[in-house]
Structures are given as C-alpha cells and as structure tokens.
Symmetry: C2
Subunit: 229 residues, 2 copies
C-alpha cells in the first residue's frame, strides 16, 4: 500500500462513519415520531434514501439502530452533568443543579427521554448486539462514576451524612426522579385534571424531602440558604 491508497482508505472510513450518522438522522426522525414498535425499517430506509438492505450493512437490527439514536440523548445528558460536576460550585449546589438539569433535559429532549426505559426491559435486549449493549453500558457507567464521586466528595466535606452509601444515595435520587418524570410523561395530564397534581412540583418536593434527610446540619444550612436565592 502506498500513500495514495492510504488516503483512499481513510476517506472511505470517513464516508462510512458519515453514512452511519445519516442513517441515525433518518432513524431519529422516524423513531421520534412513532416510537420503536410502530416505526418500520422500510420507513427509515426511505427517510435515509437508502434501501432496507443497506441499513443492515450498518446496524444489525432495528433495536440496535434504536439504541444508536438513544445514545445521542445519553451524550447530551452526559455533557450537561460533566459541565456541572467540573464547575467550581459547592457540592450542595452541584447536586441541586444536577437535579434541575435532569428535569430540563426531560422537557427539552422528551423524545430522547422516552427512549431510556427501553434499557429497563430485559426482554428487548435479546435483539440487541453485544457490542451495542457494551457501548451503552460504558456511557452509563461514566455518568454514574461522576455522580457517585460528587456525592462521595460531599460526604468528605461534611455536607452529606457519611453513614450513607454514596452509590445508594445516587441510585435513590436518580431512580425516583426518573420514575416521576416517566409518570409525568405518560399520566401527567390525567393527574393534573383529576387531582390537580403537577409532577414537576412533586419532583421538587421529592428531592427536597430526600435532601433534608441526606444532608448534615452544615449541608442543610447551605441548602436552605441556596434555596432562598
């Protein structure tokens, strides 16, 4: 292989990546509109201006393609968290900002948010390639690591109760927020109409109740001061 051949090889590699992105673009439009079940590979192929067979040269199943789209959402969320965690705010402030960001993400990226529960259905995973699962898990891991490190630091600073397990605290916050937002998405209007419940408010209350319990006296003082501003 000479220099020219190498250049072609690299260009092809680049074009392949580009094609993969174009396919995700098309898939995103269709999945956002109709969800996983109602979207068909033929539709996505048409939207991508490719034949269906070609899609399978780049992604090994519909579910793989679905995950590829979802990963973009995870990237967005990851970047938001990274920015917060790496800021020079105090830990208490960071925790508050992380909670708020999750709600913001829900409101401004609802279509991505709706994809996340897919991961929780183990029965779907059988359709998904091992590679994609690993890639997804890695991204997830990175996000958790950041959050857990933040909580651990809060404990070392004496802001958070150090008799708690930071991993457990992370799971509790994340899970309860996610659950309330999923409910808001699927049943929000009904609860609003029947019992005048606003889920955004409910989530605030939930976080407030949990914060009250996980903070030390020192942390709680800071928390209340911050809430007033």
């Amino acid at each position: 292989m000479n220099g020219v051949a190498m250049g072609i090889h690299e260009r092809k590699e680049r074009e392949k990546e580009q094609r993969k992105e174009e396919i995700i673009d098309a898939a995103q439009r269709i999945f956002f509109e109709k969800g996983l079940i109602a979207s068909t590979m033929d539709e996505i192929a048409e939207a991508a201006e490719l034949s269906k067979g070609t899609l399978y040269l780049y992604y090994s199943s519909k579910e793989d393609l679905y995950l590829a789209v979802m990963m973009r959402g995870m990237d967005t969320l990851h970047d938001m968290y990274e920015q917060i965690v790496n800021s020079d705010d105090s830990t208490v402030e960071k925790i508050i900002r992380c909670s708020n960001s999750y709600v913001d993400f829900f409101h401004s990226n609802r279509n991505f948010f709706r994809m996340f529960p897919f991961l929780q259905n183990p029965r779907f995973h059988k359709q998904v390639s091992e590679e994609m699962i690993k890639s997804c898990g890695l991204k997830n891991q990175k996000m958790w690591d950041m959050v857990i490190a933040m909580l651990k630091k809060g404990m070392e600073e004496g802001k958070l109760r150090s008799d708690l397990n930071p991993v457990e605290v992370g799971i509790i916050f994340w899970s309860s927020s996610t659950a309330l937002l999923i409910r808001e998405d699927s049943e929000g209007p009904a609860w609003k109409a029947n019992l005048n419940i606003d889920f955004d408010h409910t989530l605030e209350v939930c976080n407030m109740l949990l914060m009250e319990s996980i903070l030390t006296d020192q942390g709680r003082k800071e928390y209340h001061a911050l809430k007033k501003t």
Copy 2:
C-alpha cells in the same frame, strides 16, 4: 322464554366466563415464560387447547389478553393493601407494612410485577381496547384512593407533616419504590457484583430517608420505636 331456557342461558353465561378464565390461565403460563413480545397467539391457543380464532372471540388483541393477566396481579396487590389499610394498626405502622408488602409482592409475584411497566408505555396502549383500559384504571384508582386516604388520616392525626399534599406523598413513595424494584429486577445482579449494592437494602434506605422527612416529631418517635422491635 321459560324457566328452563333461563337456566340454559345462565349456564352458557357461566361457561363463557369459565372459558375466559381458562384462556387467561393459558396466556399467563406463556406470558410468564416469554414476556409479551416473544409470546405468540398461536402458542397461547395451543396451551388453551383452542384455535387462535377462538381467542379473538373472547379478547380483542394480544395486548388485551396481556392486560387481563396483569389484572390478576393487581387484584393480589389490591387485596394485600386492603387488608393492611383496614387493619387496626396505627397509621405509621400501616405505612411501613404497605412498603414491606410491596417488596414482598415483588419477590413472590415477580412475573406479575414485570407486567406493570407495560402501563407506562403510552405507545402500546393503542392496541388495547378502551374497555380494558377503563377496567384497569378503575382498579388502579381504588388502590390509590386507599393509600391517599391512609396518608390523609396520618396528617389529621398529627403523625405526618400536614403541609405536604397526601397525593404527592403517595406518588413519591410509590414511584420511588417501583423504580428501585424495576432496577433490582433488571440490573440487580450486575450492581451486586460490581459495587456490592443490594437493592432491597437500598429501597429500605430510600423509604427510611423519605419517612424521616414526612413524619412529624410525634410520628418520628413512633416510627423509631417500631423499627426497634
């Protein structure tokens, strides 16, 4: 119509109900084993020793049949809660027992529990008959009413903070418990292996943190006394 004819009519009615139950029996076996997606109506028909066409005389779609099975699980859960709420335990005690019962239900009826998230996916609902949705919603409503009434009573008794909305408190407890149990089901072993997290313990911590925050001083005293026994 004479008396004899009426008797036949009633018998037929009875047999029809019985057939419906037999179909649910068969569906339950298949759905438990393979989940919604991987189960086929042909399999269920074979398990019920009927033709597929006959299933559609009794249930209008696969999803309807799935919900019919799920409702059995909801009945079980409903009965557990009814018994607790109607007992003569104190309100604080009832709340604790409700939380524990939910975990018990998860462990002894995991196949039913796995069906519940189906309700949270709005995209599936299009396949389900209006009638079945209504029937399901009603059962749900009854459970919520019980729980909310219990919490309201706790506030009136001065055990729970009365500046909180009992509906919101109910949603928060229910959602966070559900979320943690779903996670336990799908990712439990992985978290146990990687970070030595036990979700049953995490859920206990979560409930403890929330309880600490929602109880009044009086309620908290009772709570701690009860926890020691």
